[in-house]
């Protein structure tokens, strides 16, 4: 085990990116990492806002026009190995925003996230459930830890 993977195994940083949507998924993801009931920090998974520090990028929301460039910039800024998790039905297929003729027009939506950046894991739900978030993140951990 190299020094890089040794230290990564002790501090996996999750970065949460919001790209439109209703914030419900963001609340559930922060809940699953910080709240005492689910508490992902006990598995050394931490929340960060710095892309240079992040290992896992969690994207929520359908990607709107305004959010496309920032999302790509954030994805580029994350060092390898990086993993992308799309969380919530908006990120998976546009959810209640795409093709539903609401306040946000379908033309404003660039998503789902797959169209913009490669996605490694998908978490369904509206909003996502903390159990599903943890299942998704845990299923990715072996990939991340065996990276180098």
């Amino acid at each position: 085990m190299g020094i890089k993977s040794f230290s990564r195994a002790r501090a996996i940083h999750v970065m949460l990116v919001y790209t439109g949507g209703c914030n419900g998924c963001d609340i559930e993801i922060v809940n699953s990492i910080l709240s005492p009931r689910f508490d992902a920090e006990q598995y050394n998974v931490f929340l960060t806002w710095n892309p240079r520090e992040a290992d896992v990028l969690v994207v929520t929301g359908p990607v709107t026009h305004l959010n496309r460039k920032p999302l790509e910039a954030i994805y580029e800024a994350i060092p390898n190995p990086k993993l992308v998790v799309a969380a919530g039905s908006c990120a998976l297929m546009g959810g209640v925003y795409k093709n539903c003729y609401g306040d946000i027009q379908s033309e404003e939506i660039e998503g789902p996230v797959e169209n913009i950046i490669p996605v490694n894991a998908k978490i369904p739900g509206c909003a996502v459930r903390p159990q599903d978030v943890l299942a998704g993140v845990v299923s990715l951990l072996p990939t991340l830890l065996d990276a180098d």
Partner: protein
């Protein structure tokens, strides 16, 4: 002086309980066990035993996420109804609108817990043989709506095209 001692003793006793007996712990230990063995189980979305296989949920789904899959061995529920298929939710298409759950006749007519639920169907014992024999009242216009959705897969699609 006495009150300070009392506070110190109470604090020490609380910490003793926390450390040795895990008092006031709120962490989900079952989930923790599943995560540490990398075997997190995904909750069931469909209760296949309680389902009567009417395909109403598949017809009513606005995103077409529900497909009916054939059962290996059809099950005869009453004299004129055989259950031959059960729903399967494609979670990548689901927007969790609960149409399927609210439409399920087990829930909407018999008042039992629904047999299809987009997040987690839960543990339940529904005796469908008993349900099907039990008489229930339903108004004519509601019956019309239900009959339309049950028989016609294109209701929602036509609504879309009408816009």
């Amino acid at each position: 002086m006495r009150s300070i001692l009392r506070i110190a003793f109470e604090g020490a006793f609380t910490n003793f309980k926390r450390i040795f007996f895990a008092a006031d712990r709120v962490t989900d230990m079952e989930l923790r066990r599943q995560i540490s063995t990398l075997s997190v189980e995904v909750d069931d979305r469909v209760d296949e035993r309680a389902c009567i296989g009417c395909a109403g949920c598949a017809n009513v789904c606005p995103t077409g996420a529900i497909e009916m899959k054939k059962l290996a061995s059809p099950e005869k529920l009453t004299d004129d109804w055989t259950k031959s298929e059960v729903p399967e939710i494609n979670l990548e298409k689901c927007v969790v609108c609960y149409y399927c759950h609210d439409f399920c006749p087990i829930f909407s007519l018999y008042g039992q817990k629904g047999t299809v639920h987009p997040s987690c169907v839960g543990d339940q014992e529904v005796n469908i043989a008993e349900c099907l024999e039990q008489p229930f009242k339903i108004s004519d216009d509601k019956l019309k709506v239900i009959a339309q959705y049950l028989s016609d897969k294109t209701v929602l699609k036509n609504k879309e095209e009408g816009d």
